[in-house]
Structure formats: structure tokens, C-alpha cells
Symmetry: C2
């Protein structure tokens, strides 16, 4: 167990001062070529690497970014995370992840922990419980302490900071419009209880599309499912009792369940009913028929979020002009597969 070598040890070994070693390794021209070469050779031999912790303390920056997300076992968040990690890594940052598990308390706890020096800034998507409670003091707190914050997907209007969101309303509009173009006139919506502003946005796009194209909006054709613990019977009952020829689902699970329910009843997809979902995950790609779905480009969102955060971090070093916060919109795209009639 040989601990990593330090400047002090090199200095002692070579009979010079710590400063000389430090400067030599930075190739400072304060030091003679001779000495520099000697030090550099020695350092190389012993595979010297500066200690990150010491650097962090000195520089007051850790080169770590904190990611706080509600869930990691979830395709969308996973892809966003992938984008963050990728961009961060390419730019010399490491990523510390905390999962809030949709809990307000864990979210607050984790953020406080990270804010005690572990990271330079936050990227997060707030938990369901936090959205319900409508309490964002922990976010304000970290911002006041000078931590840059980038919110993605589940963002908070009342917090002023950088944000990355999707064009939920618009893409739902497009998806609905596509079904109308196929000739569908009785289009259903399967959504979740909506303290999620994203679900709400999607519903709005859906309704606007109906309205714009002169299709009647029937609120009975909207099925609202609970956030946790969806039972298949909810969907089967809906399929049984309602009459529709198109469905927009706010995630791919609902879409696949719905396809299974219709098919079970002998209703064919896409001949009798068109189905469009959200999230381009495994389910969409491998269901039968394959699912036409909204690709959210999570990885791109993650990269964008990381880019915005890192830009703030690097600029902070310079002077502090007026805060200007951006909201970037990542455009979702509709991927046409087998559950709709493609033109």
C-alpha cells in the first residue's frame, strides 16, 4: 500500500523546497531548466498527480457537479443523466448523483449535503412531492449561497435560473394533429394526475389540436391514471366503456398497456385505433406493433444542461455581470412506427 506521492516528499527527496517543485511541474520560468528537468523526471517516475482535494480547497472549486433527480430507474432520467455525464466528463468535471426518490425530504437533505463543498453547481429535476408541496426554499437557499442551478424537465416557474425543457405542448399538438390527419375523430388522452406540469402541457397541446382542427373535445375521453400503482384493469375498463379511434398517451407504458387492452378486445392497432406515446424507450421499439412515439432526446437535454451549468461555472471566475438566465427548449420529435398509419 504505497500512498500517492506528494510535493513535500518530492521536495525532500530532491533537496529543494516545495515551491520549487510546484513551480517546476508547472514549467514556470522562475526555475532553471536544470532543476525543472530533474523535478519533472522524478515526478514522472513516481507518477505524481496533484491531490484533487487539496486543489479544491485552494481553488474553492471542486470540478464536481451535483445531479439531483427523482429517479434513476427510469428511461428518461437515465438518458438525461447520460448526457450530463458525457458532457461533464469531456470538460473535466465529475458528476455526483443523488436520487430524491420523489421525496421532498431526501431532496432537501441531499442538496444540503452537496452544498457543503462537495460540488460547484446543481443540475436537477424536482421531485413530485416538492412540486406538490410547492416549497422551493431549498432551491433559493443554494442559489443565494452562490451555486449555479440548472433545472430540467420538471422546472419551477417561480425560481429564476437556467432551465432546459421540452416543447411538450407543441409536440402533443403535433402528435394529435397527425392522428387527425389520419382521419381519426375520436381521440382519447391517457395521462397522469397532473401536479406534473409536463403532463398538463401535453394535455393542453392535445386540446388545442382538437380545437384547431374542429374536432370535438370530449372530456370523457381523457383517462387520468394515478402516479403509482396503475392497474391494467383501469385501462381495460376504459377501452371497454369508451369508443375512440386514436389515443395519445403521456408515456410508453400507458401506450403499450393500451395497445394490449385493445388487441385483447379484438380492436386492431393501427387499423382501428392509432396509438402514440411519449418516451422512446425499449418498450416503444420492441412492442407489437412498434410504437409511434415522441422522442424526448433526453441525452441532448442533459448535454445542454451540463453545458449551461459549466458555462456559468467557468464565467463565474471572471467578473459578475448582471445575471441572465436562459431557458433552452429541446425539440422533441415524433418517431413514426407501427402503431399509426404512416403516410
Amino acid at each position: 500500500m504505497k500512498r500517492k506521492i506528494t510535493l513535500k516528499q518530492i521536495a525532500r527527496e530532491l533537496g529543494v523546497s516545495i515551491s520549487t517543485v510546484s513551480k517546476s511541474l508547472k514549467d514556470s520560468d522562475e526555475i532553471s531548466t536544470d532543476t525543472k528537468q530533474k523535478v519533472q523526471a522524478f515526478a514522472k517516475l513516481y507518477n505524481y498527480r496533484p491531490n484533487n482535494i487539496a486543489l479544491s480547497l485552494k481553488n474553492r472549486r471542486t470540478k464536481n457537479i451535483g445531479v439531483v433527480i427523482p429517479d434513476i430507474v427510469h428511461h428518461f432520467f437515465t438518458t438525461v443523466f447520460r448526457g450530463i455525464e458525457k458532457y461533464a466528463n469531456e470538460h473535466g468535471y465529475n458528476v455526483v448523483v443523488c436520487v430524491s426518490d420523489e421525496s421532498y425530504e431526501k431532496e432537501v437533505f441531499n442538496m444540503e449535503l452537496l452544498a457543503n463543498g462537495s460540488i460547484d453547481g446543481f443540475i436537477m429535476s424536482v421531485s413530485a412531492e416538492t412540486q406538490q408541496k410547492n416549497d422551493f426554499s431549498h432551491l433559493k437557499e443554494v442559489m443565494e449561497q452562490g451555486f449555479p442551478l440548472v433545472l430540467f424537465d420538471r422546472v419551477i416557474d417561480e425560481i429564476e435560473c437556467d432551465k432546459v425543457i421540452m416543447n411538450d405542448e407543441e409536440i402533443a399538438y403535433q402528435a394529435t394533429t397527425k392522428m387527425i390527419a389520419e382521419g381519426r375523430r375520436k381521440i382519447a388522452l391517457v395521462t397522469t394526475e397532473s401536479y406534473f406540469n409536463v403532463s398538463e402541457k401535453r394535455a393542453e397541446g392535445y386540446r388545442r389540436a382538437l380545437k384547431d382542427h374542429g374536432v370535438d373535445y370530449d372530456e370523457k375521453l381523457t383517462l387520468v391514471l394515478p402516479f403509482k400503482g396503475v392497474e391494467e384493469s383501469y385501462i381495460e375498463d376504459f377501452v371497454e366503456s369508451k369508443n375512440f379511434d386514436g389515443v395519445l398517451c403521456v408515456n410508453e407504458i400507458f401506450a403499450v398497456l393500451l395497445m394490449a387492452a385493445t388487441q385483447k378486445k379484438g380492436i386492431r392497432v393501427p387499423e382501428d385505433v392509432s396509438v402514440i406515446g411519449f418516451t422512446d424507450g425499449l418498450l416503444s421499439r420492441y412492442s407489437s406493433p412498434t410504437l409511434t412515439t415522441v422522442a424526448q432526446h433526453g441525452e441532448k437535454m442533459g448535454e445542454m444542461a451540463a453545458e449551461m451549468l459549466i458555462e456559468k461555472l467557468e464565467n463565474e471566475i471572471g467578473f459578475h455581470e448582471e445575471e441572465d438566465y436562459r431557458t433552452e427548449i429541446i425539440k422533441a420529435t415524433l418517431i413514426e412506427r407501427g402503431s399509426t398509419i404512416n403516410t
Copy 2:
């Protein structure tokens, strides 16, 4: 932008020394009750929290653990990660994640980065490329530097360290046996190119089950698919040209693709063919029919790995007895669903 308050500031404000403040906050009995109360009240008022970086430097431990995995957009790794994060968080550790993306170079690079003080120990699953190259010097390196290492799933026999694996051979044996019990006699295997020891283990279990039950092993009934870029036609061709009444697939994607191919050809699952996969992800739960599959209990693996690592970390503080490395086996279980005939 009010930076966090430090001991020094409290000391100055209260006209005492830094040591006194530090001791007061630790409720040391070196300090008079009076002073302690004053300091504690002040610290509370200004919400003092010790700086993690300074603590790390002082204590030579970061309370961070490094997780290096090949992929995060992958159900199994995601669940393992979830387990790690959960256990770590409950025990006061944060988790830094690096994704190797199946690349040897990234794996080495990330580990070196993390080893410069960012973390206290590693949990990892080696990349495909590393397994191919058979070069594990970076693992030996970090171990020599005194970092505890826990390997999971894709472990390396030649590295001596703590390990967490699944009983792949045994569960494949069980799965195959189950199909034999159903009366299947022509059982196929769909697997990946096998520099993955896990795939190999599964194949072994499959073969042993056939042998033990007197079923002929026909090597033509084994389909080996590439690691990346599987095309559906490979599977369809296999279904077309071979004759089988049961299939064991080493992951759920292969299983779902295979079910789709058979159904397309008019072969029914499970009436004509039983199908069993690995990984209890969304696909297995929402496919039609639902898939009988091997639940790998990734979360449990993650928790176990974290537990083993943290135990090593906390014990290190004491004295260093003989190294004793454990290999824990997480028992996979067979989840019976609609793609097999359940008894």
C-alpha cells in the same frame, strides 16, 4: 451571494480563537459552558456547516464512493446503481459515477481521475473492451494505492478483491430445467458473443441442464448474436430455419424479438414454444405475452456491493489485519409469466 460561514469568521465575530470555536461545536469539555453556548447559538443562527473539502483533506477520506460502469442506459446497471446509491446515502456517503461506455481507455482515464483524491473506494463492473484486452493493470494500480475495490457482475478472476455476482449458471440451469419439465425437448439458446463470462456461465447452465435430463444438446440450436447492432433478420432467419419448442435468451430484448419472430410466423407462445429471458425490466412486464424471465435483483447486488465497500472503508480506520476478500452471490429468481406454461 453570501458564502457559507467559516470557523474563522465565527471566531473573529465572537472574539475567540478558531480552536475554541471548533471545540465548542463539538461540545468539548475543555470549553466553559458559557462560551460553548454562545458559539453554538451563533453557529446555529448563521447555519454553520463544516466544509466537506476541508474535512476531506484533514481526515484523508472523502466519504465519496466511485462507481464505474459500462453503461447507465441499461436496466440492469441502473438498478444496481440504484442499490448502491441508496445504501451509500443511508450511510453518509455520496456517489460519483463515471460511465466507461464499454471503452477501456475511458475506464482507465476515469479511474485515474477519481483516484486522485475524489473518492475513498471503487465499485465497478468492467467494460467489454477491458474484458477483451484482458488488461487489468488499472485495477491492480488502484488497489496498490490502497483503494478498496468491489467488482460486480462482470468480475475478473485474476483480481483479488471483494466481488458480487449472480448465480448465472445455476439459474440458467433452472430455467432450462423448467422448460424440460414442460415437456420441451428441442430447446434453443440465444446468446451474445462471449467475452462476457456471464453469457458463458448461462450457456454452461443451459448445457448442463440438457445433459442432466437426458436431452440432446444440438449446437445448431444456439444462436450467437453480436454485442452491438443486432438486426431482427438474424433472429427471424433463425426462427425460420430451426425447429425448437423452447428458448432461453440471455436478455429480455432477444426474448421479445424472438417472440415477435415466432408469432409472425404463426408459432404461438407459449403453446408451441416456451420462452424465458434474463432481466426483469419493462419489456418483460409489458410484452405480449408477458415474459417469463430471470430477475437479477440488481438493486440487491448494488446494496451488497456498497455494504462490502463501506465495511472495508470503515474498518480500514482500525488496524489492518490480513486481507480477506469475499465473493457474495446474489440469487436470481425465475419469474413465471405468460411466455411459459405454468404448472
